[in-house]
Each structure stands twice: as C-alpha cells, then as structure tokens.
Symmetry: C2
Subunit: 393 residues, 2 copies
C-alpha cells in the first residue's frame, strides 16, 4: 500500500474540517452567512499576524498579493530596495522592474540571508528610497530573515515602508507584525494555513495606507482601497473563491484553538528533527540561517537530488521538493508547514533513509531517524515535565 | 425541513464529482499528475469554447481575466469602444479608465442590449479604435448580446480586437469563438461550469496575440505571455488554485459526456420555462433580449423584489438574486446555470408562487408553475419523439 502525502513547501496537508467545507456548496458571497464567516476569518488572520492593522484578502496566488504591494505603494520611477537571495527575491525584482521602479538589489548567494545592517546601509546611503521588499522565509533556499531586526532598521527611516513576503513564514516562524513595525506583510493559503492554494492576504499599516494614497501606478483587481471599502462590510469587491474562504475559516479556528505559537513551535520542532537527521546522513544544510518552515539539504554529487525526489514519490507516494533553477539536482527541500506532525516526519525520514541507502550504498540504516528521535525525545520529556509541573501546582 | 439551494447567477450548484476532488488533497502543481489534469482541463475548455485558440487559466475572479484583456491588449491612451448596459459593462468602463484608455462608451438603458450596428457605427467613425469590450450576457440585467453579429462587424475591421466577457455565457448560450471570429473570450468557474468561484479563463486569437506584443501597459500576475510559456508545459506561472483545477477537470468531463450543446439546451429550456411563469404571474421581463443564463423579472411597486428574495431564503432556503445598484428592489434574477435541472426549477417556481401569494394576495396558485409545465411538456414530448425516431431508424 502506498498513500499519497505532500511534504512540499506548498501545497501542504489540508485540515479535515477544511476539506469538508471545500466539498460543500459555495455560499453566496453577498449573503449574511458568508459575511459572518468572512469577518471571523479575517479576525483570525489578524490574530495569527499579531496585528491590529487592516488585513485584506485576495483570490489569487501569493504573487498576486505581492503585486498588490508594489502597485499600491510605489509609483513608476520610485527608488526601492529589494533583498534577493532566491527565486522569490527574484520575483520582487521582476515585479519592481515590470512596474518601472528603480530597485537597488541586495543580492547574495543562494542559501544566505539578507541582514538588517545591509538594508540599513542602503537606507542611510540613499534618502530617496521609499520601500524595502524582502522575504521572511526564502522558500527556494530554506533561508530565514531576521524580520525583527529588519523591521527595526526600516522603522528608523520614517519615509520607508517595509514589505515582507511572509507567505511561508506565517504560522511557521515568529511573526509580530505590529511589535516589529512591519508595514506590509503578505501571506498565502497553501502553506501553514492548512488549506489549498488560491487565497492571499496582505496586512497594511497606517503608514502604508498613507503611502498608498500617493501611488500613481494603475491597479484595479489588486487595488487596496476598493477591497478595503468592501471588506469592512464583510464582502469582497469581486466574487471571491468562496469555498477557500470557508476552508480558511475552519482551519484558522483549528489553529487558534491551541494558538499560533503552538503551530510555530511544532514547525520549529520538525525543522530541528530534520536538520539533525540531515547532519547524521552526512549532509550539510543549504541555508546559513535555516528557516522553521522548510529544511533545504545540500546533496553533493554524484548523488542527484532529483533522483531522490523521484524515488520517494515512486516507492512511498511522498512528495518532497527539489531545487529550482540552478539549484536543481543539488538540494532537497522538506517542508514543516501546517497540519503535519512528528509521526508524519518520522515516517518520511525513514523512507528517505531507505531511498538514500539505495542511491548511496554505505548509508547506515536508522542513523538519521535516530538523530531526529533524539530531538523529539528531549522535547517530549521537557513537555511532559512541563505538563506534570502544571498539574502538580 | 429546509434544504439550502442556490439559484443565483454565481455561485451555482456544484457537480458532485467536483465536490469530491475539492475535498481531496491539493496535488503538487509542478508534478506530472497535476500537469496531465491541467492539460486535459484546458483541452475541455477549448471544446466548450469551440476554439482552436489558446486558452489560458488564471487563479482569480472573472474580473481578473477581464483586467488581463485590458492590460495585455491596449496601451495607455489607446482608443477603445465599451458596450455598457449594466454593472459588468460599467466594470469594462472602470477598467479602461483605470488603465488610461480613451473609451467611447455605448451606453443604453439597463435591460437593453448592445447591437452590432451600434458597434459598427463607432468603428466606421473612428479608425483609431483598437478594441471593443462587451458582455455576452449582462448578468446584472439578464440581457443577451448577439455575439455572432458583433463578431462579424468587428472582424471587418482588421485593426480591431473583439473582447467578450462571456463569464455568464459560456455553457449557457451558443458561443462559437472561432466561427464568430471572437478574438478574446473570458470565462469564469462559478457559472455554468459547476464549480465554485476562483478560476477565470481567456481565449486568445492569433490577432490578439499579435496585438498583445505591442501593449505597453505594465502587467505581471495577469501577463499572458508568461502564463502561456508555462501553460503549454501543463503548469501555471504561479501556484494555481489546485483543487479548483481538479474540480474543473471533473466538471468539464461531465459536461462533455453529453456535450456543451446539451448543457446550453438545458439552460435555454429552463429560461423559457421561467419566462412563461413570470408572464403568467403578470410580470414583464426586464431585458428586451433575455439571456439563457438568467431571467431578470421586473417587479412593479408596491411589491419589493428584495422582500421576495428574503422570503424565499427564509421560508425555503432558496437563494435567488435581486437587483444591483439602482435596480435593487425592482428586479428578481433567477439563474439557469450549470448543474441545475427542470425538477430544481419547478420546485423553485412553486416556492416563488407561495411567496408571491403572501406578498400579493390575489395571486392564483399554480398559474406560473402551469405555464412552465406547458413549456416543459412540449419539450419532453418532442424529445421523446426524437428519441423514438432515432431508435426506429
């Protein structure tokens, strides 16, 4: 028997409560029942974002919400800074280029992270810069950025708007939108949020709203103002992907039962287990500052990462991701996103070990899984002690 | 017992095969299994469009695909013609205005249709016009346009591109994209296609492709070229609404079992039944040329159409639509879209009659339903004769 499973950085496993409403009828998007669901869903997203800012929802890929930030915030010819350390940083570059912005690009090797000091140097050097576009997690390399530090740097420059693609970060790593003074934060449905792709979100600070009133870039579908005027009334400007909203309502309810911090702690645990397994297999991590959301494992030649991906899918029905562009064949990417627990991961690591043994005959069976178990057992012991402590008091 | 049912011009009833895959896992959008489903789905759409042109799919509302036509086809300052006889014609106006086009608007009363001769007059008068933007069905008023005639007029002007919002037309009224020489035809998932909202489509003639290479309007998420380069390989440029694609795959398979002409004949039958019922109730139709996709019924004062909508929902769980904007309270809109048969409609008409009797005490029970039955019985008799004829040969 082979069960199909996704361990990719999107799509991710779907929560059963979300599946049920996905299969149900599409509610009418102008009727009261939908409006109530919509409002509660946005409120839940705000809790996950740790923000009191407005959060708008778009029926699109995450890229659509990224585009919304560019077209609503800056006019053609505006100077901006883009952090580019992977395929999604390159997407910011392409978006800014397409809309005629003048982008100073902080480009570093794939696997590295953009540092706050590097952003600061650009902002200090050029007072005309209007916005900084970065990733929270660069999904193509598994690298995490220090959003707290970057937020603090940008906030010291009153004219500059910080824009974070947190599509893979939201629900996987700490994200304190307001406390860290992040002006615009973008999320997507198909990551830690436990539902299929098709919805994207954007949080907008008062400073970003103010700036958006000055942008001369034309926009319609992704116009913030029109959406805001509708969404405060519990509906969207255009017919939304209703079933995905209903699914998000269910999934965010589930997430907030224990809280977003628990969901993040889960991703952190799975990430630590995976990193230890990778090291025990003799591999190194591709990212210098590895994210919680996914682990990118560098696969040295003559091993071919793509062959490992195929073997896992063919023999075990398990989908993990390889590398994109020039990283193809050289890295494996294992996600830790959303509705996904330690038992899922232990099974996957065991299957990966079987595949590795076939591709690299000296592989000692059990070594990677044991290293992961070491992390899990320590965590479990700590949790049990913590629980007992609570019970005793 | 009250069952919830939608008779609105989107969302519409979901086909059960589509519901099942909506509830399933999201396939990975870069893997072979999804690519096969994607290719077959696009091929099915082409069959429904009766086209050999390229058909691209976007994860967005239908409005997103409308925007794609504007930004890919014309540059700021370009002269265009817009047909505007309802809320969706006004959407074309707003889109063209937002992107800086100079639009000559053919504006007529709500309920009227744009005629080919009116389009022709504009094209004859101004040789600088580059594109004509119209609706196939104006969903806000229930009016149908004669797309064959309009297509023929535009095709006589080699420089002009015809762009049709056929979101509500596709699968509800005849649509011969190639034969009628329609350059760009837009469809949406939540109408006759039997799946929830969240996907939109656009067919692109060689002439439209040629024109799109000249458009200087910036675009990214809705850029045709980037999508085409990905979609010929069975994938999308950005993560698509995977489950909706899987659902569309199932729904189009179902539709093509009997063929799109049968689906259209079904909508035509339901529309004829509804029109006769409305007349038997003493009402007139709001549209001068009523569409197959929906029937808009004019509700004279002191009756309030919104009260009828609420009563139907409260007493019978049946959602029909009222009027938008200044038509609010004055019209009822009953859809005939997609997975929806004569038994559904007979039940709805009966329920409407009960509500009418309450709101307008003189209403004779059974009159509207009987008129509808007259249409249905004639059609059934003809179909049975037709079938026997075939069997005898």
């Amino acid at each position: 028997m082979i069960k199909k499973r996704v361990f990719t950085p999107g799509p991710t496993p779907i929560h059963p409560d979300a599946s049920i409403v996905m299969a149900g009828p599409a509610l009418h998007h102008r009727k009261r029942e939908f409006k109530e669901i919509f409002r509660e869903t946005v409120a839940n997203l705000k809790t996950m974002y740790k923000t009191t800012h407005d959060v708008l929802l778009f029926s699109s890929s995450g890229t659509g919400a990224m585009e919304s930030a560019v077209v609503n915030l800056v006019s053609p010819g505006a100077k901006v800074v883009v952090g580019s350390v992977g395929k999604f940083g390159e997407r910011w570059e392409n978006l800014c280029k397409q809309y005629g912005m003048r982008a100073a690009v902080i480009r570093k090797n794939y696997g590295e992270s953009i540092e706050a000091a590097e952003v600061d140097a650009h902002l200090e050097k050029d007072p005309e810069i209007e916005a900084v576009f970065i990733q929270g997690t660069e999904s193509s390399t598994g690298a995490a950025m220090d959003l707290e530090a970057i937020g603090a740097v940008v906030a010291r420059h009153p004219r500059v708007i910080s824009v974070v693609d947190a599509i893979t970060t939201l629900g996987a790593a700490p994200l304190h939108t307001d406390e860290w003074r992040l002006d615009v934060v973008i999320g997507g449905s198909q990551k830690a949020l436990m539902i299929p792709p098709g919805l994207a979100f954007v949080s907008i600070s008062p400073k970003a709203w103010e700036r958006s009133r000055q942008s001369k870039t034309p926009r319609f579908y992704f116009d913030w103002k029109r959406e805001y005027e509708n969404q405060i009334k519990g509906q969207t400007a255009f017919t939304p992907a209703v079933n995905l909203v209903q699914a998000l309502h269910q999934a965010t309810r589930f997430i907030l039962t224990d809280g977003v911090d628990d969901l993040i702690a889960n991703a952190a645990l799975l990430a630590r287990m995976t990193r230890e397994a990778a090291k025990a297999w003799g591999f190194s991590l591709f990212a210098t500052r590895p994210a919680n959301a996914l682990t990118a494992i560098a696969i040295p030649a003559p091993l071919d990462a793509e062959a490992i991906v195929s073997d896992l899918e063919d023999s075990f029905g398990a989908a993990i991701a390889g590398g994109q562009g020039e990283m193809k064949g050289k890295i494996l990417r294992v996600a830790h996103l959303g509705y996904y627990d330690a038992i899922d991961l232990l099974g996957l690591l065991g299957a990966m070990e079987c595949v590795l043994r076939k591709r690299r005959p000296g592989t000692e069976l059990g070594k990677g899984v044991s290293a992961a178990l070491g992390v899990l057992a320590a965590e479990t012991a700590q949790r049990l002690t913590g629980d007992r402590g609570t019970a005793d008091n």
